[in-house]
Amino acid sequence: MVIVKCDRLKKRFFGRAGIVKAVDDVSLEIERAEAFGLVGESGCGKTTLGKIILGVLKPDSGNVILGTKKMQVIFQSSYNSLDPKMNISDILSEGLIIKGTGQGEIKRKVEAALDLVKLPKEALKKYPHQFSGGERQRIAVGRAVLTDPEFIVCDEPVSSLDVTIQLQILNLLKEIQKRFGITYLFISHDLRVIKFMCNRLAVMRYGKVLETGPVDYIYSNPSHPYTRSLLSSHFYDIIKNDASLKL
């Protein structure tokens, strides 16, 4: 069952260097309960596409058909994505207050979410700057999960974190997906993260989708030369087993 369907989306920006086609004729479908990866380098339009799907940006043409209204988002820089003037309790309960949820239920849900992302109760009275990057990202995950979403856009959720913390957050996201059957759109420049999280992916460059398919298939049979160069660019990053090293 399709939960998100993008049909011929286009979005242009007017910059100093002229018109930038951030999203140029993109169509894709995301199935319910899958983790769909969107891969590309900086400026390829992946974040813009994510914001269009979320409804934060309006496309110039084309449309997005959504199978759910319960959407959430987790951004890259967790410092930017949490209001520095709000304490964690306010940050977590924001979505519920907007929906008009009752006090008792808010309290119960906030505590459950805190438990889910493995943060202590004392965290509620603190402010974002009092946490490490990984903890802040846990808070962002908690906020996203609180409103019982069916679809979450994760925009580079781990790219500013250390590798051990990356793994913790990714495992947390996986666990949440398993438990609640959430659909992810996973935006990343890092093919390692996509490989770890996703079952299908789309490769983007200059606002266009170059190829789409199952992760395992594309990683072993990339059809587009750009996908190939992207895959080989991780040569230095990965350590698979000790024998594969050229030392």
């Binding site: 951004f75 890259q76 930017n80 209001d83």
Partner: protein, 272 residues
């Protein structure tokens, strides 16, 4: 906070402001005499044990008048700037958040307001509506909000691009929620700095207007009209002008020092 405590000038300034504030609030207790009680036996007496700042030509106690004057002057300063802050935040937040033609219209209005020479605008309005404490507050407030509006607009322009605003939108927040819960709380720091500096300015304007006779009307004492009262007898009774003048000087100076200290504290946090 530690930074603030280290700044000795700022601490001294806040203590002075606090002192004046307490004196103003507790004026009936603090004042040694009734500020409007005349005493024909002690006219124009220099500072003494009985009248520590001397008396004026009607025999009224200058210290008591200054304390009651502080009430009026500070009240006008606070309310006028409070008004300016509210108008400035409203206009600035609207212009910054909605952008486009709303921004253009509001900001051209700000430019137009800035083009008027403020003091003449005030003179014109007062001569039209007549001098009263209420009118003075309104007119000072209405001519001091433009800087704050620009400040808020600039803050909002960058704040609204931050991810927590997008996250809030995704959760279905209305514009009013985003403006009130996210944008204004994050923009308020520099506004408070600007407002603190503005209070000093407002007190000065009030004093100037009262001095010119179109501000607070006698017999209500304000620092400006105490100063004016003393003008005619400046040659024989220096205390009539020097003491209220010093109060104005130190109060305005204190607000400026405090404002600048607050800015020093607020700005590194903005960078972070």
């Amino acid at each position: 906070m530690q930074e603030f405590v280290k700044n000795k000038m700022a601490v001294a300034a806040s203590l002075f402001i606090l002192l004046i504030l307490i004196a103003a609030i507790l004026a009936p207790v603090a004042a040694t005499c009734d500020p409007s009680a005349t005493d024909s036996r002690s006219v124009l007496t220099p500072p003494s044990k009985e009248h520590i700042l001397g008396t004026d030509r009607l025999g009224r106690d200058i210290f008591s008048r200054t304390v009651y004057g502080a009430r009026i002057s500070l009240f006008i300063g606070f309310i006028a700037i409070g008004m300016a802050v509210l108008i400035g935040i409203f206009i600035g937040a609207m212009a910054g958040y909605y952008g486009g033609s709303i921004d253009t219209i509001l900001m051209r209005f700000v430019d137009t307001m800035l083009c008027f020479p403020t003091i003449f605008l005030i003179l014109a309005v007062i001569s039209l509506l007549g001098p009263s404490i209420f009118n003075i507050m309104i007119v000072i407030g209405a001519t001091n909000w433009m800087g704050i509006a620009r400040l808020v607009r600039a803050q909002v322009l960058t704040l609204k691009e931050r991810d927590f605003v997008a996250a809030s939108k995704v959760m279905g927040a209305k514009d009013s929620w985003i403006i009130l819960r996210h944008l204004i709380p994050n923009a308020i720091g520099p506004v408070l700095v600007s407002a603190t500096l503005g209070i000093g300015g407002a007190i000065l304007v009030e004093s100037a207007l009262s001095f010119l006779g179109i501000g607070v009307q006698p017999p209500t004492p304000s620092w400006g009209n105490i100063l004016m009262d003393g003008r005619s007898t400046l040659g024989v009774a220096w205390w009539l002008t020097v003491f209220p003048g010093l109060f104005i000087l130190f109060t305005v100076l204190s607000y400026n020092i405090l404002g600048e200290a607050l800015r020093d504290i607020a700005e590194p946090r903005l960078k972070r």
